[in-house]
């Protein structure tokens, strides 16, 4: 087929296309609401939620939510093949470094025995499974949106979609989770979010290629 013929055929296909940003705006609110509903039905919120939301333990909700917002901003940029995403990536990086700093602080101020005791609860495994489950729909939505884009690095883009979804999943799960110590949060929430990041990277490497 000659190139002119291909151009003629392509030009006849004027089906409107939805931009990746618009797909994010469409899918994520729905995914978020469904995740919250799932939590309400199958996990229930912690009984002291009203108190918690106005005191220190609210960090368990705010930190993952901040991570999700930063990842959302980065994902929007990465969906464009020509975009430079230095600013977006550094916000995610600063948040990540902050968590690493908190981890170092936690390891320095807690003995291994104390940490082991914190994690010696069924809720720990529960968290590692629940967050990815609650993140599944947001992950699907984020990857679907990124697929409309043209990310130069599919694996990285998938990982960022995973971070976005993991942040949402963790923020939602925090409304249920009764454990507030820093080391519990870093181990359980951090671990669970990394699981979703890894999932996103693996799936992204397959579905975001173009």
């Amino acid at each position: 087929m000659k190139t002119d013929a291909l151009i003629a055929a392509l030009a006849a296909d004027t089906t409107p296309r939805v931009a990746p940003g618009a797909r994010l705006a469409r899918s994520l609110p729905v995914a978020f609401v469904v995740s919250v509903l799932l939590l309400l039905v199958f996990w229930q919120v912690r009984p002291d939620l009203a108190e918690v939301l106005t005191s220190v333990p609210v960090y368990k909700t705010l930190v993952p939510a901040a991570m999700a917002l930063a990842a959302l901003w980065l994902a929007r940029g990465m969906a464009r093949p020509e975009a430079r995403v230095g600013a977006e990536a550094s916000v995610v990086g600063v948040l990540g470094l902050g968590l690493l700093g908190a981890l170092a602080y936690g390891l320095a101020t807690n003995s291994p025995a104390e940490i082991a005791e914190l994690l010696d609860t069924r809720d720990f495994e529960n968290c590692l499974i629940s967050v990815p489950v609650l993140a599944a729909l947001p992950l699907a939505g984020a990857l679907w949106a990124m697929k409309a884009g043209a990310p130069r690095h599919p694996v990285l883009a998938g990982a960022v979609a995973g971070l976005l979804a993991g942040g949402i999943g963790a923020a939602v799960y925090s409304l249920h989770c009764p454990h507030d110590p820093l080391m519990y949060f870093l181990s359980a929430y951090g671990g669970a979010m990394l699981v979703v990041v890894a999932l996103g990277a693996v799936i992204g490497g397959r579905v975001l290629r173009w």
Binding site: T3, A9, L10, A11, A12, D13, T14, R17, P81, E82
Partner: protein, 182 residues
Amino acid sequence: MPPMDEPSWESLMRAANRGDQRSYARLLGAVTPVVRGIVRARGGTLGPEACEDVVQEVLLTIHLKRQSWREDAPLRPWLYAVTRHKVVDAFRARGHRVEIPVEDVAEILPAPPGEDPFEARDMARVIGRLEPRAAEIVRAIGIDGESAAEAGARLGMSEGAVRVALHRAFKSLARLRERMIE
């Protein structure tokens, strides 16, 4: 730089996004020599037919990924990024490694205009793998120059159905190409 009375690529693409086929054809026509120049500069040793295959692959990608261009951004950086990504990918799939430094892309001269003597083979082969009706629609509109309405009248389909089929055909083409070449 295009002459002053030429509409910018950005305005052509914006018009295309609103369903203006003529602007879109014009844009693709203007973009093709630029893409061809980049492909030949990088993969000239493959021979002109194989280069034209890659040019067509890039055009198909531009088409399927055009929504990733933001309407308030300049079009050229987007176009170069898509072309660069796809050219590297296409040559890799054919067993050739090419490196294209980002800065270089913009400096490659377009291929001389009015030069499309090559019947690229891959696209015809992949179109042959589409389901017959989809292949017929692509050929009718591309090669025979029918409009969607004319093709629809001949095939007993509505114009809208032809457009939907055409759109799906391009998505399948991209998938089939990937599978056939790798």
